[in-house]
Symmetry: D2
Subunit: 117 residues, 4 copies
């Protein structure tokens, strides 16, 4: 069996959420994973993304992925934000995709498109 066949399909969100839960459980990290602590960690990771962009002009910010080191850093922080968001959803019993679908529905009513239906 090759490494490739071990990952025959792209990961889905639910599978990643299960991997994260197993990862925390194997290290006995659940006592630290209160909702309060997880939202703090989420906001810290979001700020680490901000830190990459804080002194850039808008134009420079649009080119961050052209530099391989910065691109890696951005992907790494995006992963951290998503990881804590999924772990928060896990401990609170929230379905993030359903929450986002509902929010887009509400926003479509709240901000009608200029030429919308």
């Amino acid at each position: 069996m090759t490494a490739q066949s071990a990952h025959p399909e792209p990961p889905d969100l639910a599978a990643l959420q299960r991997r994260l839960a197993a990862f925390a459980a194997a290290r006995n990290w659940q006592p630290y994973h209160t909702p309060k602590n997880l939202v703090a960690a989420l906001s810290v990771e979001a700020s680490e993304l901000v830190e990459i962009f804080q002194w850039l002009t808008p134009e420079e910010s649009a080119r961050v992925m052209a530099d391989p080191d910065t691109a890696h850093r951005v992907r790494d922080e995006v992963a951290d934000v998503l990881a804590y968001l999924l772990q928060l959803c896990e401990v609170l019993g929230i379905d993030p995709l359903a929450a986002l679908a509902a929010k887009i529905d509400r926003n479509e009513e709240r901000f009608p498109a200029p030429d919308g239906p």
Copy 2:
């Protein structure tokens, strides 16, 4: 056709990302959606989650979903964080699921489980 058959399956991340992109395009919001602005907005939404929890004890924080109004607020902010994260990934060409899978792989090497394989 019933409302239920119109949404026969739960939304997937890629479909929600396309809805968000279409939503922004229909309102001509793309000029505002520089990576720099989107990470700022992401961090602001993460802080709105923190605001819900800031004065709670760890125990109270574990019970936030018991109150319907607070539960709605938490789901709403989770949706906002995910929305800006997906829009950031869209403008930067990042696959959030691949980024998270790669990060979990790295973390499994970095933090070996006590009884891990």
Copy 3:
């Protein structure tokens, strides 16, 4: 006695810190003012400042004080950040002015000025 004579001098930092401590004590808020909660509140207020600027261009951001309502909002959030910073310093026994003076000293060594002494 006139209003002016009631405030004969501009407030100093230590006097404001004492007013904040008395304000919290009179309302029995000290149990909520753990260092952990105060840093969370500080970061939430900092994000409320970011929210004012998140969709502005750099040029627009330089003109925020020209609009009286926005100017009031900015001053209000600046005050909130400073209030939580002073309350954090109070509970941790930190002298914020000494901490900043020491930091500037270190930064002057770390980042020598191009034409510096």
Copy 4:
């Protein structure tokens, strides 16, 4: 003249604000110091404070200054938050002490003390 006599009094806020402005000017950093960038940097530093506390219990958070290394880190981040707040006030023409005094005045009306005057 001894080093001690060179600093005969504790630094005041206005003097530190002038030192920060001179420091940035000597390094030609002013173009980066737009209000938008400074509020982003402020929020990043506030999050670095949160990071120190994110996994601590409320009780552990009250004891952070007992460890010299952590105490140094906390003072350092407090200094960074104050530095960016003062630089923001400098570029926007805000008097932070007056803003805070006005805010406490408003809060005293908004949240009357239980046994207040």
